[in-house]
Subunit: 567 residues, 2 copies
């Protein structure tokens, strides 16, 4: 009889427990959770705060009782594993309800402790109106604070997934919101110019978005005391009416009624490190591809571990639910004698930001630059489905690839419709090892309500292949502000578009459909930098120019990419 | 200077013309179209009739003038190419406006004539109230008939894409509709049991759906004559008030005000065949992978050609817009000295049927049986996104694969949300040559509004891999009605579900969460056929049974698959 102990009862741990039982009726399985809840819908918390998910109980996917009934798993909530004796293969467990301690032996131990919110050591940060959001009690505290204090203004620090989702939740509740992000963009999985679309959306909804600014100090200015022992908080954290004065590193000050710290998470490795298990250079538990730690009897999964980046092969920390679930399943397989290997993490991710979705897979440009990997990029802005059918929205799409081999490095997309689909397609293509040339041949679903005969992805593949074959000489948005005297800008849109949307200073305007007649207005001794709205007409003009002996380049992604790059 | 003639100015022809010009400024390009319109939105026609696309001009994507201005292509509408002299590399063209004829020589000729609606030789079918729908004049005639005759009842013959879309259009216009299909299902790209979901939706909307019935005769019973020469119809086809009496092959009769024939299309091969070009066994123009016909100076693309089925390698006729567009682009490349190869057709397709989408890629079960290819299948019914987030809908998903190699044969999906996405993912995975085991590792976008940590596709891959590894012994919906005395049915749902949804006659009911306690109620000498709602709890119970030494099988896709299989 194999005895398996599992530390942590959410995504990875719960998946492992269920899979282990399906594989073996005789295994003894005990799952320890220091909190009060197992298998809760972590990712749903902000949506319950914002009111999209009305019923709190929907977030509680399993209970200790349901786990016992279905999977015969002994679930021990409020039981914290405090130590591992690897020699004797036992753990020390502290019952948090009565403070007692006991030991439990194991054949295999699975660590799925997750990650904890990072709270930077900012003066005054420890106050009753500042919260982070990771679990059900965190959520309950935030809801209690909102219910009791009726805040008029909230501030969110951090523009990642949780930060953006909390910003939207507050906005839905009618609370004026400030979002502060230290970097020059939100959603760091995408590159700066793609985040520009998100910034525009956030500002349009009336959010006070401040980029490139950090919180330096917090001052709690209490008003009336409103005790909230119901929420199970320590006295220091009881809800108090009052406000916070925030000092930012640009000298600005800000008064707010509620502060959410969402600057990131850090792997929970204390238990693993104290047991002498190898911890990786990024601070996550090291595992091999079988999800086995440096001790072969101990496995680890989820937000606490480092996995291999699918593109670079480098270690990475990717605290996402999908990988955690699959790793848990795999660890159970391997503990019970199978041999399954985890095949790297692409970091495929998506976030809803008001009416937009922003998503990515693989590596972004910042990472490629950091790793010193040569790359090329294309931008396409195309309709989510046939433009003549109602409801089509622009998909703004970026693809990064190796200009030599055509290998896909990554993809990013932003828009109001069909974003998840395009990034899913790219995630599959990348995992399968397809090249950008092969993407030309993709045969995707098409009917007017769902797609286009030439999908966004096909189009991006055409552009990328044109570049690889030398049929297109690209110029990118970030080069436009550094043109030389040997280059001239040619805007091939219609005059009305220049007027309504804007244009690049100094551009000559010849609409593409007049170019053949007016081509002699252009100089042959300069490089002509062509652009249009999104790059399509620009390419038609570019081809005409080079086929007529001109030197030319086409602005990939057109004016739209340039325009939002700094939004 | 290369001179390229193109026959047909819609998807394939128009794509080829544009691409050819981008590649060569000097090529002479003439595009002949016997109709009045080039590059129109074929796929949008039913949606304009139904009113979703209000503005008719949105369907006209390009005009001869716009083609000339942008691409310097000489577009000749109402000019029909009537003959090819391959020896002298010339075509004969008839100007349909004045009846004159002329010749035009070519270096390369591209045939993109499309396909024409099949009108079976049914007595009385040639009458003024019977229409097919392929182009703008067809659409205009149908709209005119509706406007003038104000039909109260319409009948559609054929349950393919056009038939289903016209059914929906009539329904939107408040016209009672009968849909008649000779086969026992609509949407033949999917298998019968998946079409069941569509049948249920169609009937729920009040459509009179008749399956397995054919139209045998039509009798036109004129009422008042309402001339409609404006619509450019020959006198015989002028709109007349009156009704049609339809006789069906089951002896039933039906009176209707308007009849749409949508039983399929046939490649337009007359020109090619008369020129002695090779025509394939399915009746489409034969081409090699370069889209070259048996005459190296003549290329052919689109609905008129046979392509290789991606899975079986057999010739196939796939009249879809995506392949036509890509083939046109490729043919232009090859005419101008490149070497691009078309890489087979998966037949990826999708259709909106009221609130449902139904989609597929690759081969279906019927085709695999016909080809004698061994396969296994799985069914999964899972939420389109996290169940706890509002708006989640069930994705009903079928995957066909090789149980030896894990190769993906095809996939089908039906539901109200996320159908296009799942079939796109499968289309990419199949094209990339992934196995069903590899699909387990797919890392798809997940946030509660968009997906699940374990996506439908991951789940289907888990089930398929369990079968391949022998961790699951499947039984399928179509075997349930043929159980032997050595098998017993075990329903592991909760009693309320049996009551509300229905159950299989003769099943023993032990809810999965009670199975461990009550397992001794089951016999060890019989095979236990386990089922639940969708197969998930069934698998938990199945594993418990086999791990306890019982013989068992799990109904893949559960009661839901069985229930809709005959709908």
């Amino acid at each position: 009889m194999t005895k398996i102990l599992i530390v942590g009862g959410v995504a990875g741990g719960a998946s492992a427990a269920a899979r282990a039982r399906r594989l073996s009726e005789s295994a003894q399985i005990i799952m320890f959770e220091r909190g009060n809840f197992v298998s809760f819908a972590n990712c749903g918390l902000p949506y319950h705060i914002g009111g999209d998910i009305k019923d709190r109980s929907k977030l509680l996917l399993q209970t200790p009782d349901s786990f016992l009934a279905r999977f015969n798993v002994d679930v021990r909530v409020m039981n914290e594993v405090t130590g591992i004796d690897r020699q004797n293969k036992t753990v020390t467990v502290k019952n948090l309800l009565d403070g007692s301690e006991y030991n439990e032996n194991y054949d295999f131990l699975l660590l799925s402790p997750g990650a904890a919110p990072v709270i930077p050591p900012i003066p005054g940060i420890d106050n009753p109106l500042t919260h982070s959001l990771r679990n059900i009690p965190d959520m309950d505290r935030i809801i209690d604070t909102i219910r009791m204090n009726k805040p008029e203004h909230a501030t969110v620090i951090g523009g990642g997934f949780i930060g953006l989702e909390m910003m939207e939740a507050f906005h839905q509740l009618g609370i004026k919101t400030t979002l502060i992000e230290m970097a020059n963009q939100v959603m760091t999985p995408v590159d700066r110019e793609m985040a520009g679309f998100v910034h525009a959306e956030i500002r349009e909804k009336g959010i006070d978005l401040r980029l490139g600014v950090a919180l330096e100090a917090v001052e709690f200015m209490p008003n009336v005391s409103v005790a909230s022992q119901d929420a199970g908080e320590p006295v220091a954290h009881q809800h108090l009416e009052g406000e916070l004065k925030l000092s930012l590193n640009n000298g600005e000050q800000l008064t707010t009624d509620l502060l959410i710290m969402a600057v990131g998470v850090r792997p929970e490795t204390t238990l693993a490190a104290e047991a002498g298990l190898k911890v990786g250079e990024l601070g996550g538990i090291w595992t091999n591809a079988q999800m086995q730690t440096s001790d072969p009897s101990i496995f680890a999964v989820g937000d606490a571990v480092e996995t291999q980046n699918f593109v670079t092969g480098q270690p990475s920390l990717v605290p996402l639910a999908g990988p955690a679930n699959r790793q848990g399943r795999m660890a159970a397989d391997n503990m019970l004698g199978r041999s399954e290997t985890y095949q790297g993490t692409q970091g495929t991710a998506i976030c809803k930001v008001f009416d937009l979705a922003v998503a990515s897979t693989g590596t972004n440009e910042k990472q490629l630059q950091r790793e010193g990997i040569g790359y090329e990029k294309v931008f396409v802005h195309a309709a989510s489905h046939a433009g003549y059918y109602p409801g089509a929205e622009i998909v703004s799409f970026k693809m990064l690839f190796d200009p030599q081999s055509g290998k896909i490095f990554g993809a990013q997309a932003v828009g109001r419709d069909g974003i998840d689909k395009r990034i899913d397609v790219m995630a599959v293509a990348q995992r399968a090892g397809m090249t950008v040339e092969q993407l030309q041949h993709l045969e995707l679903t098409y009917a007017p309500p769902y797609g286009s005969a030439k999908d966004v992805i096909n189009q991006a593949a055409f552009v990328a292949s044109n570049i690889i074959k030398g049929d297109a000489t690209p110029i990118h948005f970030d080069e436009i502000d550094h043109l030389t005297d040997d280059q001239i800008l040619l805007d091939v849109r219609n005059p009305g578009e220049l007027e309504n949307i804007g244009y690049l200073e100094g551009a000559v305007n010849i609409p593409v459909d007049q170019l053949r007649q007016r081509i002699n207005e252009l100089p042959k001794d300069k490089e002509i930098v062509v652009y249009c709205a999104v790059g399509l007409r620009g390419n038609v003009a570019y081809r005409q120019l080079v086929n007529n002996g001109f030197k030319a380049r086409n602005l990939i992604g057109g004016y739209r990419t340039y325009q939002f790059a700094n939004a």
